[in-house]
């Protein structure tokens, strides 16, 4: 292209602004390649090698093909397939937190944006709702660990009446519920703000028209707010899903990395952390686990995206 412009400068009828486009997206592309694309590809690459540290001796890297994946998908002696176990744990705890998170956020968003209610002090409430998100997950986890610990305030109340202490972190469902609750508490504010922005983006005249037509609140919500909010809701669900699959900090801290009781609170990323930290530095196995996590995330995002996509009339062509 440069040769043509050089040879025939007179031909310049229209000015191309394309290069400015490239110029402006260049920083993003550069950052994306360096910080996302290269690590992504190298993760795939690393997953094919045996490369770990034992004591102070480094083993590998030796090319082993798909051995790491085979190992991950080999059930242990008592028949438990650990990776499936971790995936189910992660999804269970995510769903336990995400459903109340989205329902609650949607409710709050509708209340706050309602023209009829016109709630005062919105700025204050928005700040308060968002606050938990500013606290570190680890601090939150520590706090809840203390509250529900064997000698914590809740158990002091229980044992004050002479009852036996309830070991919250020794019971699968109480441990999972606490983790899910922390995640819910941390993230519902963020979701509320996003959904409020979405609702406020809906044309007010539609709400007015509906109220003139005599629609009640639930009709307005289900027939107007929800359908028009769908794109934002999908975004919220997918980002929450990706965040949920990467659940790590809260269960890691609350169970001190053990995933107790009986591996029921161990998430995929905790398993990944177990491979990479401390003595092991098992880059091969960690790479393989990351690839699996990547695939799971991709599939689930695709499903969510497809199932919530509005059905178009002209699609049948």
């Amino acid at each position: 292209m440069s040769s043509t412009t050089n040879s025939a400068p007179a031909k310049r009828r229209s000015i191309s602004y394309a290069k400015w486009g490239y110029f402006f997206i260049a920083p993003f592309v550069l950052v994306f390649i360096v910080c996302t694309f290269i690590p992504l590809v190298s993760t795939f690459y690393n997953s094919l090698f045996e490369n770990y540290k034992e004591g102070l001796t480094v083993v590998g890297p030796n090319f082993v093909g798909f051995d790491n994946f085979v190992k991950l998908f080999t059930p242990r002696a008592d028949g438990r397939l650990e990776i499936l176990n971790y995936t189910v744990n992660t999804m269970t705890m995510w769903i336990m937190g995400a459903i109340p998170q989205i329902v609650f956020a949607l409710l709050l968003a509708v209340i706050f944006t309602s023209e009829r209610l016109k709630i005062k002090g919105q700025g204050f409430f928005k700040t308060v709702i968002y606050m938990p998100n500013l606290i570190m997950a680890s601090a939150f986890a520590m706090l809840f660990f203390q509250i529900f610990s064997d000698v914590g305030p809740i158990n002091q109340i229980i044992t004050a009446n002479g009852d036996k202490a309830f070991l919250f972190f020794n019971n699968e469902w109480s441990a999972k519920s606490i983790i899910a609750f922390i995640n819910f508490l941390m993230w519902f504010g963020n979701t509320t703000i996003l959904l409020m922005a979405g609702i406020m983006g809906i044309d007010q005249s539609l709400f007015e028209a509906a109220s003139i037509d005599g629609a009640n609140s639930s009709q307005v919500f289900f027939k107007i707010t929800l359908p028009l909010l769908m794109p934002i809701l999908i975004y919220v669900v997918i980002t929450a899903l990706i965040g949920g699959l990467q659940m790590f900090d809260v269960p890691q801290i609350i169970t001190n990395g053990t995933g107790n009781p009986d591996q029921t609170t161990k998430t995929l990323v905790m398993a990944l952390n177990g491979q990479i930290n401390g003595n092991t530095r098992n880059f091969g196995m960690a790479g393989a686990l990351s690839v699996i996590l990547f695939i799971i995330t991709g599939i689930l995002s695709f499903i969510v995206f497809r199932s919530t996509e509005p059905k178009k009339e002209g699609k049948k062509k």
Binding site: G55, L56, M131, I135, D150, T258, P261, N279, N282
Partner: protein
């Protein structure tokens, strides 16, 4: 206006959260900021004589000290002395008792002392240390690791590698006053000695005098020992204690080390993991004790708050197991001025002699301060005045037989925390039965992993096989080359 207040509130919250992130950094690198005047220390040390003359401790030291280690560091040695540790315990001893250490400038013989302290939880300490050791050869002089600490559970990982120096290269050798097991523990598989320990850790049974009186009718250490000198007797007393509303011991893993450190076989041999029979014995005991209600039903770990709360004067637990370092390091609650029970304790050998823990000093290969490394190692093992202060002020049991013997025989010595009992004499009587054997580099992962994974079996929530499978998978995760059943 309202928006502005809100904006500043949010901004403040943001700044706070960022600030707290910074403040909460797990790894605390304590860089002792030496005054500017002391930065050109290498020059200073060569012109000024070593401060040995100003220091009482050094002048009292035995005359047998080799002149090489007593001298100031050679001119070509580094001007930063880097020590890696996982807590402040040794740092406190070092700053108080190390001859030649100047607390005002935080220098040792004019060389700046820099501590890098990382918590041992989640293997943070070893991870950082490993990185530093592997890079030590190429590190800048100021960053070279000179001395680091290691614990009994993983010392073999370092001694049996090229990352630690033979102490003979530092001009040191085994001395008669050291306990043999501390030397064996610091030796590699070829018998080369790679470090020294400043403590000897025979571990005993520490009991609450008032509870012993209630259960056994006496709190006299000899009489209590007579009633608790075997596991059968211990079981019988546990049942008796329960009848009176007391717990025999608190944590389910309280007696773990008593069994595991008397192991007759290693955790891993020939690359295959097998559970030592003594650990099986412990598992059975822990299960029985939980089922019978002899221990806390909340099953706290040995370091947990739930267990430590039993050391307050409201506690209902009779026995704890630990070495000399346990008094100050773990029994803070018992020493609490308001809720503690200072003086209501005593120590005996208990049902079985054993040791627990211990901290060794190892010299990192590539150190640029070999003279100082040797000096510190010598001070904490051979310098009798240092060792005496460790016993007198810190309640330690030192790695110096002469000093320990002196205190053991001293009728005027008594530990006020133990109601005036001479604990040194008790520990000194146990040292002969400690043997360093069956150590592997996998010990830490196995000991900690097993205690953690078996908990579900003890409380009855999962069967034993599942608990063991969880343990095996933990070991496979940490040591991919180990074969598990």
């Amino acid at each position: 206006m309202k928006k502005r207040i809100m904006a500043s509130l949010l901004a403040a919250a943001c700044v706070l959260s960022v600030a707290s992130c910074g403040g909460n950094n797990a790894a605390t690198t304590t860089t002792t900021a030496a005054p500017a005047a002391n930065n050109d220390t290498a020059a200073a040390t060569t012109t000024e004589a070593a401060p040995a003359a100003n220091n009482d401790a050094t002048t009292e030291a035995p005359a047998t000290e080799a002149p090489a280690t007593d001298a100031a560091p050679a001119a070509d040695e580094g001007d930063t002395f880097n020590i890696y540790a996982w807590n402040e315990e040794f740092k406190g001893f070092f700053e108080k008792y190390q001859p030649g250490y100047d607390a005002a400038t935080q220098t040792l013989d004019g060389v700046k002392v820099v501590w890098t302290i990382n918590p041992s939880a989640d293997l943070v300490y070893q991870t950082k240390l490993d990185e530093a050791l592997m890079a030590n050869a190429d590190a800048a002089p100021a960053d070279k690791v000179d001395l680091f600490l290691a614990e009994a559970d993983y010392i073999l990982k370092y001694t049996d590698s090229d990352f630690t120096m033979d102490i003979s290269q530092l001009g040191l050798s085994q001395v008669d006053t050291e306990y043999q097991y501390t030397v064996d523990a610091a030796s590699d598989s070829n018998g080369k000695i790679k470090g020294v320990s400043f403590q000897c850790c025979p571990s005993g049974l520490i009991y609450r005098r008032s509870i012993a009186k209630a259960v056994l009718g006496t709190d006299d250490p000899d009489e209590v020992q007579a009633q608790l000198d075997s596991w059968e007797k211990y079981d019988a007393v546990a049942a008796k204690a329960k009848e009176q509303g007391y717990y025999m011991h608190a944590a389910y893993a309280e007696t773990y080390r008593v069994f595991s450190n008397n192991a007759t076989g290693p955790w891993v041999s020939g690359g295959t993991l097998s559970i030592p029979s003594v650990v099986e014995d412990w598992t059975n005991q822990a299960k029985t004790y939980y089922d019978n209600g002899y221990i806390l039903d909340t099953l706290p770990g040995i370091w947990d708050d739930g267990k430590n709360a039993e050391m307050f004067n409201t506690g209902k637990t009779m026995c704890f197991f630990g070495p000399a370092w346990y008094f100050n390091f773990c029994m803070g609650n018992a020493q609490d001025p308001d809720n503690g029970c200072y003086g209501d304790w005593a120590v005996i050998k208990g049902p079985q002699a054993h040791f627990w823990g211990g901290t060794w000093m190892l010299a990192a290969t590539g150190t640029d301060n070999p003279t100082l490394v040797a000096k510190v190692m010598k001070a904490f093992t051979e310098d009798e005045s240092v060792c005496e202060q460790l016993i007198k002020n810190e309640g330690q049991f030192t790695n110096n037989k002469n000093v320990n013997q002196k205190f053991a025989e001293d009728p005027n010595y008594g530990n006020a925390f133990l109601g005036g009992q001479n604990d040194v004499a008790v520990f000194a009587g146990m040292t002969d039965s400690i043997v360093w054997q069956n150590a592997t580099i996998y010990d830490q992962a196995c000991n900690e992993g097993y205690q953690d994974c078996i908990k579900g079996y003890i409380d009855g929530s999962i069967d034993k096989d599942t608990a063991l499978q969880n343990f095996y998978s933990k070991i496979r995760e940490q040591y991919p080359s180990v074969t598990t059943p």
